[in-house]
Symmetry: C2
Subunit: 141 residues, 2 copies
DNA sequence: AGAGCAAGTTACCAAAAGTAACTAATTTTT
DNA sequence: AAAAATTAGTTACTTTTGGTAACTTGCTCT
């Protein structure tokens, strides 16, 4: 049934990495955990799509983002753009023309995150069929 | 200011990957997008922590998870475990002892996702300081 | 003169998440 | 023998977050 090919070696290497990250984590760090804080924003479903689209179209304006990030509301788009800019993933450039033009683009920091995000998206794309078949088959047997 | 070292080459490779993922995306796929569907669950902030901890402790019981995934509520933990199991990331084993014992562990599929997640977490760990300083510096200048 | 545009904001309603008390059956403690 | 603790959740209730749609502002096009 399982089509994955994860070797024991890979599992061991993963365990070592996790040990480095979690091994020396005391109570203070559990309450304020950098993974949590960074990921809470950066792995948010809308943030991911915004960052991916800004990787695809290097410069985007508000309404362009709204069209491509299908289903996002003005409210959430505007709020996410603010915090993503505040955390340094993207830059906002306003041109005082009429009507006003506001352009968003990834910073170098945002690009560095985008690289990781792309790997995750590639995994999601290639494994979505399996998720669907897992979901269907669940509960049966 | 920017400490990142993303080369133009890397940006080009990223753009090519995005083109493959987004290039041939028509309206139907925008409404049902596999990245969205898979990631909505798998990149959820609690799901990420659950999967990471199950990578660290290969077998965990409900209350153990609740202790480690600091701050999660019974309600959300129980709901996430259900959908993560349904999508095939983890397996649930119930032992009809008294009191009942229920063990959770990652499937091979879950392990394959964990590998990507670890890279993301490593990025988050090494970049959390920069996020903090970005956040502090925002608005100034 | 009226409509249209861009980039949002606002008020209101729906959905998701957090809180805390509760369940069941059995073992351990008093 | 009665009370307390244990595990893996569930339930009712409150709070926070998200979605919907109408509105704003100042200029340009028809």
């Amino acid at each position: 049934m399982e089509m994955e090919t994860i070797t024991e070696n890979q599992k061991v290497r993963v365990a070592e990495k996790l040990k480095k990250m979690f091994g020396h984590m005391d109570r203070r760090q559990m309450e304020y955990c950098p993974i949590r804080d960074v990921m809470a924003l950066a792995s948010d479903k809308w943030s991911i799509l915004i960052i991916l689209y800004l990787g695809y179209y290097p410069v985007m304006r508000f309404n362009h983002l709204k069209k491509r990030v299908y289903g996002i509301s003005n409210k959430v788009l505007s709020e996410r753009l603010k915090v993503l800019a505040a955390d340094g993933y993207l830059a906002r450039n306003m041109f005082p023309e009429v009507p006003v033009r506001v352009e968003y683009n990834l910073t170098d920091f945002g690009h560095s995150y985008l690289q990781k995000l792309i790997e995750l998206s590639e995994w999601a794309t290639t494994h979505s069929d399996q998720v669907m078949s897992n979901r269907k088959g669940f509960g049966k047997v």
